[in-house]
Amino acid sequence: MPEVSLVEAVNLALAHEMQADESVVVLGEDVGVNGGVFRATAGLQERFGKERVMDTPLAETLIAGMSVGLAAQGFKAVPEIQFMGFIYPTIDQILNHAARLRYRTRGRMTCPMVLRAPFGGGIHAPEHHSESTEAIFAHIPGLRVVIPSSPSRAYGLLLAAIRDPDPVIFLEPKRIYRLVKQQVPDDGEALPLDVCFTLREGADVTVVTWGAMTHETMMAADQLAEEGISAEVIDVATLKPLDMDTILESVAKTGRCVIVHEAARTAGMGAEIAAQLAEHSLLTLLAPVQRVAGYDTVMPLYRLENEYMPDTARIVEAAKNTMEMS
């Protein structure tokens, strides 16, 4: 079994599900002949034809909206938005339609679609290509928001997302698209949505994160271990609906929590997790929850992007803070 990168695992899952389920349709800009600007859809058009792997005109509102129409007709639309910076024209369709079609019609119509988009910084991309705004979607009732952080989770979660009968926003951390390779058997086994994954067990502090930041966090956990601090690392994976139980259990054990995300701090998803921790664990927390997040500024052009994004050092420091304060 060859090893695959995260983006290759996305491709594997798409191919698997298109093969297994005729109703799966991929659409977007440059997803066909070109196989996607990151090659996530490479080879799909050759295999499944131009109608099921459709190069659309350059129109994001249309891409999202026509996916709703396809979904209502029983197709499973998997639209790609080329970068998260261009996802905003879809919000109207996602919020006002996709997320509530089942609700509005009392189940008469449904909207099984997976809107994929690469997101996040760290690859020296041009302007508007490096943002992380998952919190916007996490606030919208009726959606799922899923973020894989490894090849095998990309494969299993994307399968689950496509099979899910409701709309999913599937955000792919492009910084780690090719960072590591893993053996991913193409066995069609989905991973569960709506649950966190514990990537590393630990006793002293829980570090909660997702996407590309899991890698910085795992490195931070290594460093902390060297200094005698045992960190438990949780990959949230499905941001909405949020599996708070896993986080609460972990923090019940460790008494300390650091939340790490690349997105701007204010009203980011870290706030929700911190708020729930405070609601449920106030009396067991040994130290205030720390958020390590992007600053509340515009994601800078690439000469400063590394200054903007949380890194191992900031995570280590925050974890140590929680140790000191208790």
Partner: protein, 369 residues
């Protein structure tokens, strides 16, 4: 729309040209202005169109009355536009899909949406969108023009499955200013999808007159941007609307591509019951429009050609009125949904994290459960 190429002068060459046509069969006096289409030969067809318009108008009046007496929420009247909506609905086959905005009661009734369902919707109850009849028709779409991309997706699905079906999508004149309109039109053209867009031009978008929406002489010509068929039809002539929309639908059904039809009519009512058009619209303009009433027009023709008697008409009106009263009664007798209904159908299976919220809401609910 027709086109031709060629012709060159000096450094400048003509490379494309286009035309827009307008169709009408009955003028506002009910006089025939051209050879009537085939379907009019069977007078039952005309009576059925007439009935559908009358039914729509009687429903409309009732809905407004319910709203005025605090028994219904905001309602969008279709007064004056019945020919457009009935013409569209009657041109469709059962297996086609309608994607309406919020004013097309007449089309929706023909599709099989019940009056009770429509009242429930405007009465603030989602169950009004769970149509027992046309299961695949889209519910009312309030965010203007956002359903046009849906129509394109529906048409794409039909094309993928090689089904001889058509998506019919209605919109207002104001809606033609939205980017969604154009993106949908362009995609429909690029992929030659089986979709028909009908712009129900009623001259107003709330307080904004048609001429302020766009400098375009016709809304039909917007089709040229996507190189799809574009034409105008007299939207108060139900025969013309049915004819043109039918023709476009059957063209789409045969795989010959999408169309845009502009149906010219007039909004005789306020925008909705929440609006007061006298603030921005001259009384005289409204009065001048009275002669275009689409029901009167067909009535004149039917009576004039001895296809309908005064007695028939009265009977027909009485039947429609009874139907409307029965629907209103059923609507008013429908108890509100229980609080926990807020969590039904949010997802196929309520996620674990929302179970506690549902319990809380149920417990606190106003006892509808």
């Amino acid at each position: 729309m027709s086109k031709d190429k060629g012709s060159s002068t000096g450094s400048s060459t003509r490379v494309a040209s286009f035309e827009i046509h307008h169709t009408r069969f009955l003028d506002h006096n009910g006089e025939v202005t051209g050879e009537l289409p085939e379907f009019t030969r069977d007078s039952a067809n005309l009576i059925s169109l007439y009935r559908a318009m009358v039914r729509t108008r009687i429903f409309d009046k009732k809905a407004v009355a319910l709203q005025r007496t605090g028994q219904l929420g905001t309602f969008a009247s279709s007064l004056g536009q019945e020919a457009s909506f009935v013409g569209i609905g009657s041109a469709m086959r059962t297996e086609d899909v309608l994607l309406p905005t919020y004013r097309e009661s007449g089309a929706m009734f023909i599709r099989g949406v019940t009056m009770t369902e429509l009242l429930l919707y405007w009465g603030g109850d989602e169950r009004g969108m769970d149509y027992a009849g046309p299961r695949e028709d889209f519910p009312i779409c309030v965010p203007i023009a956002t359903h046009l991309p849906h129509a394109v997706g529906v048409a794409y699905a039909m094309k993928l499955r090689r089904q001889p079906r058509v998506a019919v999508c209605t919109l207002g004149d104001g809606a033609t200013s939205k980017g969604d309109f154009y993106e949908a039109l362009n995609m429909a053209g690029a992929w030659q999808l089986p979709v028909v867009f009908v712009v129900c031009n009623n001259e107003w978008a709330i307080s904004v007159p048609r001429r302020a929406q766009t400098h375009a002489q016709t809304l039909a010509q917007k089709a040229i941007a996507g190189e799809i068929e574009g034409e105008q039809v007299d939207g108060n002539d139900v025969i013309a609307v049915r004819h043109c929309v039918s023709r476009a639908i059957e063209k789409a059904r045969s795989g010959d591509g999408p169309s845009l039809i502009e149906a010219l009519s007039y909004r005789m009512s306020d925008h909705t019951t929440a609006d007061d058009a006298s603030r921005y619209r001259a009384k005289e303009e409204l009065e001048k429009q009275a002669i275009n009433d689409p029901i009167t027009r067909l009535n004149t023709y039917l009576i004039g050609n001895n296809l309908l008697t005064e007695k028939d008409r009265e009977a027909l009106e009485a039947e429609c009125a009874a139907e409307v009263e029965a629907a209103a009664k059923e609507y008013l007798a429908t108890p509100p949904p229980p609080s926990k209904a807020m969590f039904d159908y949010l997802y196929e299976t309520l996620p674990a994290s929302l179970v506690a919220q549902r319990e809380f809401a149920t417990k606190r609910g106003s006892g509808n459960a």
